[in-house]
Each structure stands twice: as structure tokens, then as C-alpha cells.
């Protein structure tokens, strides 16, 4: 009940924030433009593809790249969306007021997280709607599309969890956004050094987000990848809840 109350309140606040709408509008406009370009390219190469035995189809050339583009945008947009969730509350003095309602810190974090997820789900659905409107006239690879959608959803959920943890760590929304962006980029590229040295398959490769996302975008759903995402979502949320609990001790 209290988680639902927090989620409802946070969703309401997201809905009336110009920032959330501006980010959504810009992101969807950019994705629509990318979609039109990909679709044009796909139509241009269709004759050539028809001659190939195992040619990539609409899903490989239009739908999955569109989801990959959404993820790229999310690197920047999600930290901006989450930066004020707790840092803004702390700055405005409303965080102690929320604490005084007797809601456990983890419920507060989960409630806010679910609100961000609901907002991101709308983005994902709006993005998916673009290739899906042509589903009748193309032959989508439904399995691959479902796996890529799952990968995109899990990546968005991970970015949101990291954003909330960074927002819980500071009283300055701008610092929270910068911190979330840095953490996300680190998680994305942490194995670059190992790759450059010709080392592969080690811990750093496992730690890297792109390793697990690429499998899902290729249509491959495996337990280790799902476990990685589960950990990458749970850990920041636990840290955020611990940080809020510590607020009662420290301030």
C-alpha cells in the first residue's frame, strides 16, 4: 500500500514536470527520425537481400537497431530523469518529511523506482510501436524481437536503478546526473582495457553491461545474462535504501 502511494505520488510529479515531457518528446522525435532512415535503408537494400540465402530481415535491420538507439539515448536521458528523485527531495527539505511518514527507506526507493519504470515503459512502448505498425506487411522475427525488447527493458531498468542510487548519494541533482552517467559509462566500457590487451572472457568482460545486452539483442536469452541484470538492478537499489537509512543516523 505504501509503495503504491509513493509510486502514485512520484508519477504525478513526473507527469507535471516539464523536464520529463521535454526529454520524452525529444527522445521519441529522435527515434522516429532514426526509424524513418533505417526503414529507407532497408527498402533500398531489399532487392540485394532477396538474393542472399540467410539474409537479415526487418527485425535485424530496423527493429533491433531502433531499440539499440533507444538505449544510447537512455544513457543521457535516464540520469536526467532520475537526478532529482532523492537529491531534489533532500535539497528541498521534503526527504525528512517523507521519512516522518514512517515509510521504510526501501519502500520509498522501490516506490520511486517503479514510477520511473512506468515512465520508461511508456517510452519503450512508443518506440516499439514504430516497427510494430508494419508487422502486418513485414515478417518480424518475433522471438528475436521479444529478446531484444527484454534486453532493452532490463537495460533501462538498470540505468534507472543506477540513477536512483546516485540521486540518493548526494544533495545536488546535477552531481547525481553526472555521477550516474559516469557509472553507466564505466559499466559499459569496463572491459575496454582488457580487450585492447587481447584478454577476453574474464571477470571484466562479465562485469561489462554490453556483454550481456548484446546477447539479448541477438535474440539469445541466457540465465547468466538475466542474473547479471538482476544483480545490476538490485545492488544500486539496496545501496540507495541503505543511504536513506543512514540519513536518519547522520543528519
Amino acid at each position: 500500500m505504501s509503495i503504491r502511494a509513493v509510486t502514485r505520488l512520484e508519477l504525478r510529479r513526473l507527469l507535471v514536470r516539464p523536464m520529463a515531457w521535454a526529454l520524452a518528446a525529444l527522445a521519441i522525435a529522435w527515434l522516429a527520425w532514426t526509424y524513418v532512415l533505417s526503414l529507407g535503408n532497408f527498402l533500398n537494400v531489399q532487392v540485394k537481400l532477396a538474393a542472399l540465402a540467410d539474409a537479415p530481415g526487418f527485425t535485424d535491420l530496423v527493429s533491433v537497431p531502433l531499440l539499440a538507439e533507444l538505449i544510447k539515448l537512455a544513457f543521457l536521458v535516464v540520469p536526467l530523469l532520475t537526478m532529482s528523485l532523492l537529491a531534489g527531495e533532500r535539497r528541498a527539505g521534503t526527504l525528512p518529511l517523507l521519512a516522518s511518514t514512517g515509510i521504510a527507506p526501501w519502500k520509498l526507493i522501490v516506490g520511486k523506482y517503479l514510477a520511473v519504470l512506468a515512465w520508461l515503459a511508456v517510452w519503450l512502448i512508443a518506440t516499439l510501436a514504430m516497427p510494430l505498425v508494419l508487422a502486418g506487411s513485414t515478417s518480424p522475427d518475433w522471438g528475436k524481437l521479444a529478446a531484444a525488447t527484454l534486453g532493452t527493458a532490463l537495460t533501462l531498468a538498470t540505468l534507472a536503478a543506477i540513477g536512483i542510487a546516485c540521486s540518493a548519494a548526494t544533495g545536488y541533482p546535477a552531481i547525481a546526473a553526472a555521477l550516474a552517467l559516469i557509472v553507466t559509462l564505466l559499466l559499459w566500457t569496463v572491459d575496454r582495457g582488457a580487450q585492447a590487451a587481447g584478454v577476453s572472457g574474464g571477470f571484466l568482460e562479465w562485469l561489462t553491461m554490453s556483454t550481456h545486452l548484446q546477447n539479448l539483442l541477438r535474440g539469445l536469452v541466457t540465465s547468466p545474462d538475466l542474473i547479471w541484470f538482476a544483480l545490476a538492478i538490485a545492488l544500486p537499489l539496496i545501496l540507495a535504501a541503505r543511504r536513506l537509512s543512514a540519513d536518519r543516523e547522520r543528519h
Binding site: 502511494a5 509513493v6 510529479r13 514536470r17 518529511l97 517523507l98 516522518s100 536518519r248
Partner: protein
Amino acid sequence: MTATSLLNISGVSRQRAGRAAVSDLSLILNRGQVLGLLGVNGAGKSTTLAMLAGALRPDRGSILLDGQDFVASPELARQTIGWLPEAAPLWPELSVDEHLMGFATLRGMTRRDARRATDAIVERLQLGELRRRLAGVLSQGQRQRLGLACALVHDPALLILDEPANALDPVQVGELRKLVRERAAAGCGVILSTHVLGEVTAVCDRVAILHEGRLRHDAALRDDADGHILESTFFAIATGASAA
């Protein structure tokens, strides 16, 4: 007395920014009682209230709320405590109505009960004309009234008010006093922190004076209607002339 008291604070201490903000504080508040909390700036009033509201955990000591350990179970605050912090922090992008509905549901009410409670408190605090207005465009006095409404919307047994008369005009101050007495008559315990001595004599049954984090005075006000004794006691403590 302890068994029936609404709030029983015993030996509570709290460090803030490396110094003792509150030291070894012990107090009892019964139902229907209005306690005035006085002290100069930095005396530890706001820290005390934040601990009583569940926003801060004491370093030492115990707080019993209706006989239950509030330090170990801060969730007890949910339905029992209403808190108006100093400067009434609000969400500028939400309307008066959304604040009240939000706080009522955060306090565990169903949507239907929250709607009913919101309507009642809006009528009681005469916020009807402001219902749809965003908190960000309210005047300081209107923000204060909204903060008070948020603290009262779930009909708490303990009401904690930190400088509630800030930015209120004389008519609203009179309304506030009436409201506090009304709540006390209904069995609610009220703690009112203020810098205004007249506020305490007008509305409180008891007064506690904090100085440098310590409780220096705790007495009933019944024999001090004009506030002379309180005034001399307060100034004696605040200026260090009292060894109490």
C-alpha cells in the same frame, strides 16, 4: 503516569555536526496536553522535534509512543504523528489537493478515506479556494497553512509543530490557536516549538525550555496567565543568569 502517557522521552541525546545538539532529554506528554517548547536559536528544538517525528534517530535514550518503542519502530509514526517542520517544505509542482491526498495515502489511508479526510481538512483550514493551486505559487502564509493541513490530514494522536505561526497574519494566528486547543480537547497531544513567548502562554498547558541542548525548565503554566513568570524564567536561562 508513564503507562498512560502518549509520549515518554527518556535520556535522549543526539550529536549534530560534531556537537551535542540534544543532551539527556527526558519529557512526558499526555493526551490532550499542549506542550510549548522554547529556546534560543541552536538550543536543540528542531533536532528534538525531528527525532520525535521519526526523521532523526537518537544516539542514546528511548522514546515511547503510546507505550511502544518508537526508536526501534519508526513506522509507528505513520498514523500516530503529524509533523509541520520549520518553513513547511512542499513540492512546488503539486497542487494543494494533491499534497493532501498524497500525505493521506502515504499515511496508510485508502483513496476513499484520503478523499474524505482531504475534504474535511480543506474545509477546516479554509483552503477551498486554493485546492487546485500549485504549492509553488502560494504565499508564505498559505504554504504554512498547507503544511499544517498535511500534518493534520490523517488525524494524528501527536501533533508536532515547529514555528507554526511563521508568516501567518493575526487572524490566521488566532485560527491556529483555536485549532490547537480544538485538537487538544479531542485528546491529541501537541508539541509546539516557537520563539514567541506570547504564543506559549496563549495556547499551551505546559512549557519546556531547552538551552544548549539540555532541558532547563519544565513546568505547568496554569498560574502564569499573563506570562510574567515564563518571561523572567526564559530570559534567565537564555542569558545564563539561571543555574537551573
